[in-house]
Amino acid sequence: MPAEKDEAKEPRARPRLIVLIASFLVSHSTLFSVVCCIAGLIALLLLPVLAKSTYISENALMPGSANPVFSGQDVSEASRLVKDITETQKMGKMTGIEIQRLIIQRMADVGAEVYHHKFHSQSNQFHPFRFFSCDSNSAVTESNSNTSYGLNTVGIIRAPRGDGKEAIVLVTPYNSEYVKLNDALSLGLGFSIFSHLGRVSWLAKDILWLAADSRYGEYSSVSAWLKDYHNPVFFSSENVDANVTHDKDFLNMQNKNMLNGRNVDVFKRAGTMAAALVFKVGEVMERDPRDILTIYAEASNGQMPNLDLINVVHYLAVHRQGFRVNIGKLASLVNSAWLNLVGQILEWLGKLAKNLNPKWNFGISSADYAEGAATVASSMYHQALGVPTGSHGAFRDYQVDAITFSFSPRFYLNNENMQSSFILRGGRLIEGVIRSVNNLLEKFHQSFFLYMMTAPNKFVSVGVYMIGFALLALPLPVVAASLFLNHKATGFTGTEEAKIAFGSWKWLYAAKTVLMIDLWAMFASLMPYFISQIPNITSTESTFLWVALSVTILAVLYVILGSPPYSHSGNVEWQTLKAVMIASVTIGLGLMSIINFATAQIGALLIVPMCLVVRPLKKHIQGALILRALSLVCNLVMVVIGFPPAALLLMKGFSKGFEGVGIGAVWEVAEFLWAWNSATYLYVFLVHLPCWVLCIHILLHP
């Protein structure tokens, strides 16, 4: 045909460089994807080597530039409160709010504005539509029949040099039902700092101290308070009446709740929060030469506070107060043989490079490597889970940078002397941090938000850890393009004219299949909402019900929207289906890498090989028998590992032993994820699961 000849002549004149490169990549897609995947894995393993030392980026912070003036007098305040709390506890007249009354009395004596904050304990519910919306109107709709409530105590010191527009928040969680010694100590520490700050003259930001009643969990008390802080609720009078008559306890309390002639139930606010510090005294860690400070930073959906905040705490703790700073790591990995082997190889390589050129100094000892890898793994695990590691997570939802740190003394603190020296150092640390944050002129913005820690003073920033993921994900579009183009080429050569016409729209059928599976996945992900409404059901039963319902829906969708694509053969070529599937996975992974990088990275490790390897069992590849067998085994292994519940159970089995693992674990994990609004849940159900089902489709293709 002349028309086609014309077309063929025109572009052949001189193809552009980018076209040449693209066509080269596409034609060597297999080699390219193998190289890229291996490079991606190596880049991931190199993360501890590539980590940089942290530094304080914001000049205004000036940590440690002023001497702390937190003194023995403040410590004695703390000891007094601790003693009072233990005595109240011993007297045994616990009406539930004794401790709160004690704290509020003390705060009022310091001269602070004080109030009680009453909140309902609310069990986390599954809200299908509330994954990303920062809902502002949900506070109004709570008409809980639940009468169990907790009582937070809040004190505000107005800054002598501030305009009342900014505030720093201190949080000490404690269990008000039974105050143990370390809870009492953290309350004492909090109060001593609070009273100290009530006397200083340099404050430019208001100080809020929240003694969070954590009998229903540390997170819920803080998040309830934050919600009320940010969403003023205007109760109509009837609403309040209903609340009051509901629990007489509260009514009694209200009569008593006049302190020095002021009502302490009125919610008061300071300005916007510049930073929040959650601190508590943890368990005793014996056999350690120094007191330990453990930092928790991961908030919901892998969000981290600004790195400067961690740096300030770390700097002051290590270089001023002599703590040993710890961040979470997967203990089982530190001693694992293969990680140490990799570490030794890297150490050897580093030495080799140093011999070649003394300036190349990227060596790292194998112990450091294992340590760093374990820390990065824990960092990644907690980010990927999308569940905050402490009550600081509640602050991040309101764009407030917050961390939790817990002090672990090395001796039991029954001894008065030990206690006071410990409180002195803890108090000076917190004072120093507050002083730094107090210097800030703007929000934290200078340093990183997207990073992973490999050690308390080492981090990997987004620019570095993205490389591994990008290399892993790069083969996907290339392979999709090559499958698509190859298929089109074969489609054009051997068929009659009618097929040519709609040749470029041939993928529509495959897209329809993919769309149908995605639709199914959406239904399957909403299913737990309905299942959780059924009362008295065990987790194993729920899992089976879930699976059964999902399979039914899949069957129904097949009937409505057309039978499996391979039943009337020739309609959908498996190459096209694979190309469309890979394209959809690429979009999903790309999106997820922005929402929560760690999830995308872990997901990519599972999903990318599965997508690339999969091919119909009945279509053998040409070549040696061993290649065929390898392809078959790869396919089967990938499909087993790629199934999210199977992967979960396998992981549980390897970490905790296979005896205790039941099917019910699947339901429990799913419940856990949606209760925390984790985007990982969405990823698993809207990207990973459909991809797995499509892979099964392709495997079974005739």
Binding site: R130, Q399, F449, L450, G503, W505, A583, I594
Partner: protein
């Protein structure tokens, strides 16, 4: 490819039911607050505000809240006030929009049928009906209306309390009127849509061409070629026969002035009528000059720089005040520059020309929303037969899906989490604009290729 009638109606009704479902959950989805769905010009929330202001005898335009037409206030305003307890706030308006969407789809369907029949006839005249038969025969009207009804963009716009379904209806109305030779209807649609959102003013060119030449046909050169072939080759002696034929053909492609004059006359009538109504409703609040300043002036001046999926806000947030007016002219003239070359190249296909104009318009608008894309993606279905060999179709689909998912995520990262910044969100806006560019370029080149293919077929 042909759909059975029953299946078509089942799918159409299905899409309506889906819309109703979405409307039930619209409170939870919070679509009306998304910058992708509701722009300052089309937001129903702002309309409700304007209605309230007007009812308390203030100018609806005071406070820079409302920027729509004053005529929408008495139509939709009372419905925004009526509420049913337990149901979403803008229930009645949303129901109206469902009906509007459905009517739009039916008009697209009718347009498609008109286009099909004329195109079929002209191919028969060229003895090229074999092209259509081998290519497979698609009912473009059904296809286009289904694409329009099931497009997620349309559904989101419909549920998201934005007035753009009405703008879309008016544009489609004018195209339908022009296709079927109804000058008054075409004029009405054109005048109202221009009044509502200004940009459809450029559609006057395709509408006049449609009225003058009739719906899309292969280029007129082909008819001349055919004539010369026949007169030169097959039957040189049979003069009467060829004369008769040539008369018929020239009759087809002649520009007839009568409907165009009618169109101009009707346009004048409708526009004066609309201006009169606006004047009445704004008599106490500054009259027509106030209206022009606050609606069309607002569109042209790009006063609201809140982020949207277009490319204007970012630039005008950065640009120095001193250069502002210069760049305003540059940005707006961009659209006008493209009009003439496209007319010259595509004058034989006025309907396709209208599609290209609408696509360009929704790309270079000052306040674009996904509702505009919904319209041109629906109209794209009208040319399914000609665009069968379009390249990059799969890439475009992936791009549209990817961008429409990425854009809210980036917005969330910037506004709610605070870990991203404006560049993140604007990057998706740029990517979206480039995707639309690729779509326009590819579709135009495919149409031109299709014409070339026809010529080659005729020559052999």
């Amino acid at each position: 490819m042909a759909l059975t009638r029953r299946r078509y109606w089942a799918m159409a009704v299905g899409s309506v039911i889906l819309r109703l479902l979405f409307i039930c959950f619209s409170e939870d989805l919070n679509l009306g607050f998304r910058p992708e769905v509701a722009t300052p010009v089309t937001s129903l929330r702002r309309l409700a505000e304007g209605y309230w202001l007007k009812n308390s005898s203030m100018s609806p335009y005071s406070g820079s809240m409302y920027h729509g037409s004053p005529l929408l206030l008495p139509v939709l305003g009372p419905l925004t006030v009526n509420r049913v307890k337990g149901l979403p706030a803008h229930l009645f308006c949303s129901l109206i929009f469902v009906i509007v969407d459905f009517v739009t789809a039916m008009l697209i369907r009718a347009t498609g049928q008109k286009l099909m029949s004329t195109y079929h006839r002209s191919l028969q005249l060229l003895n090229l009906s074999c092209v259509q038969e081998t290519a497979g025969y698609t009912h473009v009207g059904d296809l286009a209306s289904l694409i329009f009804l099931w497009n997620p963009f349309t559904i989101i716009t419909c549920a998201g309390s934005s007035t753009s379904p009405i703008d879309n209806l008016m544009i489609v109305l004018s195209i339908y009127g022009a296709c079927s030779g109804l000058s008054s209807l075409a004029a009405f649609g054109w005048v109202v849509s221009t009044h509502l959102s200004l940009y459809p003013a450029i559609l006057v060119i395709p509408v006049i061409l449609l009225l003058g030449y009739g719906p899309d046909a292969p280029p007129s050169k082909l008819f001349l070629l055919k004539k010369s072939n026949e007169s030169g080759g097959s039957c040189p002696k049979d003069k009467t026969c060829s004369e008769q034929k040539s008369k018929e053909e020239t009759h087809i492609r002649n520009f007839c002035w009568r409907p165009v004059l009618f169109f101009i006359m009707w346009s004048l009538i409708w526009s004066s009528y609309i201006l009169f109504l606006s004047f009445i409703s704004l008599k106490e609040f500054g009259g027509l000059s106030e209206m022009v300043k606050k609606t069309h002036g607002f569109i042209l001046n790009v006063e609201d720089l809140s982020p949207n999926i277009g490319v204007f806000w970012y630039f005008f947030a950065e640009v120095f005040e001193f250069f502002r007016s210069f760049f305003l002219i540059v940005f707006h003239i961009n659209i006008l520059f493209m009009l003439v070359p496209l007319v010259i190249r595509l004058r034989h296909r006025p309907c396709f020309l209208a599609f290209v104009y609408i696509a360009i318009m929704s790309m270079l608008k000052s306040y674009p929303s996904v509702g505009d894309s919904a319209l041109y993606l629906g109209l794209l279905g009208l040319f399914a037969n000609e665009l069968a060999e379009m390249r990059f179709s799969f890439f475009l689909l992936c791009g549209y899906v990817g961008i429409s998912l990425l854009s809210p995520v980036m917005h969330n990262l910037w506004i709610w989490r605070g870990t991203g910044n404006a560049n993140f969100y604007f990057a998706t806006g740029i990517a979206y604009a480039s995707l639309q560019t690729v779509l326009i370029v590819e579709s135009v080149s495919t149409i031109l290729k299709h014409d070339r293919m026809l010529r080659n077929k005729l020559a052999t």
